[in-house]
Symmetry: C2
Subunit: 324 residues, 2 copies
């Protein structure tokens, strides 16, 4: 019997989950659910599109609903709402609001005897696991997280909101010297500026004031003012030809010790497509959520609470034979 | 209440576990147990040394017994023997015999309502986890494991058994070109020789036939004949000055895809002391074993079966706040 999965929300992440579910032979994609008019949404795999309003009637048809909304406004409402009806997975990543979100989702799960995993993906998600495993093994040590080289959609959007900008792509880039110091176990203290730089590729309207735009970008608080930022003005054609993808990645480096002996643990990702990789994590987590719920484990969880074997379709015997 | 831990076996690994338990404030080291005469064993921390014969009388004094014997002859007998009396952790690493070992340990655990985690450490252990997580997330892909640069104690011992050899250290070294191809997502097919080289530092008796010794090393089946091996003859003083440590490490690289998009996941370790790091993993696993047993989860397990949160002394709330 396959794990029957629904996807709510069909942006980049929803498309990534769709592709991932189809790549897992023990999972079945029942449908994509949208808050838009379903007739306006066409899926890559031709899987059926339903209105989100139909979800309450489909409780018996879905084992897990993967929530592909944004963390700012969608998920804080969506996850608690659906966690009472379905086992759910989300990728909520607003760090400061995780305790509140967890609590709301946990209550909903308990009302409905369902299981939810929140904040799944790679950061939060796999990177969180790397930080946790490292700290448990070597209590004396520090973790460093570097992101990139990769496209930050939030920063790209921030540039697009500037007057005169037609389109933009922003790459977050780790500073090589900082990476090297950390990898050498030097345990440096690093400022924001010392860890990452920001590279912007910007298309502007004809006759736009490039000097003003560059200044506005570089001085934008929170997004750019704490970083060394470079701004490159390019044509729309160049942007489409060379900056179409959504690559990302990064490294969690843990620098610890046992007395005088140093140990460096590194977990890194180099991803051609951020949403497709994140979608792949969510599809594996969906399998675990279903299995946990089947065993009576209910409530809100994170990837910290998932025994790794639960992410796999294979038996314990097969896992020990092939992966141990 | 602290987790009360005993260590059986006081070689390099036992010493590593001792140091690790003392570094974990929620763990208490009750004693070291030995099959030698306890009066001949002096611990680094001055913790008490008992005869292994006393273990059956100490069932109520220990929450977890960490078994620090060798995989060849010690653990296949030791783990099933003690798993009936204690929650245990071992680092059994004879891959082909894991199914049999697991079965024997599982039966013993079930007779005594105890919990055992076998094959813990970094490979098997953390490297196994890296292979498993990667495969679950990206079903289409291949994993590559590289070991080193690091000291292989088995290979060093093999050289020491050659006539005329006084002492030896063997380093396993990944081939840089192979690593690079894998990191680039090229998915190469690599022979044993293409993945690792072996570097030997050998001290010989005065007047020994170096040419014969070098030939014997390079042609030794299983250990060296499938590798490009270099042999360096050095003095005892040089060996003691420059090759005293037991550094190790390596990388698990998973090269996967979602359709046309490639993704590379890498987990790597750079360890000054292999036994101290492995001991640190066992100390974290001991905490998880105790907690699982307290919750009624009995039987033989591996690190695949441990929800990561169980390895930590912190609460779920603290973990979500600081590591997610």
């Amino acid at each position: 019997m396959k794990v029957r999965i629904g996807i709510l929300g069909y942006g980049n992440l929803g498309k990534g989950v769709e592709k991932a579910v189809l790549a897992n032979s023990d999972e079945e994609l029942v449908g994509v659910f949208t808050r838009r008019d379903p007739s306006t949404v066409k899926t890559a795999s031709d899987v059926k599109v339903f209105s989100a309003d139909e979800l309450p009637d489909l409780r018996d048809k879905l084992d897990v609903l993967v929530l592909c909304g944004g963390s700012a406004t969608d998920l804080p409402k969506m996850t608690p709402e659906y966690a009472e009806m379905f086992n759910v997975v989300d990728s909520f990543d607003t760090h400061a609001k995780i305790p509140e979100h967890f609590k709301n989702v946990d209550s909903a799960c308990k009302r409905g005897q369902k299981t939810a995993v929140i904040s799944a993906g790679w950061d939060p998600g796999l990177f969180s696991l790397a930080r946790l495993y490292s700290k448990c093994i070597l209590p004396a040590g520090n973790d460093y997280t570097f992101w990139g080289r990769g496209v930050s959609q939030g920063h790209s959007d921030a540039i697009r909101r500037i007057e005169g900008v037609v389109d933009a792509r922003q790459y977050t880039v780790p500073v090589p010297e900082a990476l090297e110091k950390v990898r050498n176990g030097e345990n440096p203290t690093l400022t924001t500026r010392q860890k990452h730089t920001r590279e912007c590729f910007v298309v502007v309207e004809e006759g736009a004031d490039k000097a003003r735009i560059e200044k506005e970008i570089k001085n934008m608080p929170n997004y750019f003012s704490d970083y060394d930022t470079t701004v490159n003005f390019i044509t729309k054609e160049e942007l489409d030809a060379e900056h179409k993808g959504l690559p990302h990645g990064g490294s969690v480096i843990y620098s610890g010790s046992t007395g005088e002996n140093k140990h460096v643990i590194e977990f890194s990702l180099k991803l051609d497509s951020n949403p497709e990789f994140t979608g792949s994590v969510l599809a594996a987590v969906a399998r675990a959520v279903f299995r946990m719920n089947s065993e009576g484990i209910v409530g809100a969880k994170t990837m910290f609470d998932i025994a790794p074997a639960y992410l796999s379709p294979l038996s314990g015997e097969e896992l020990r034979a092939h992966f141990l």
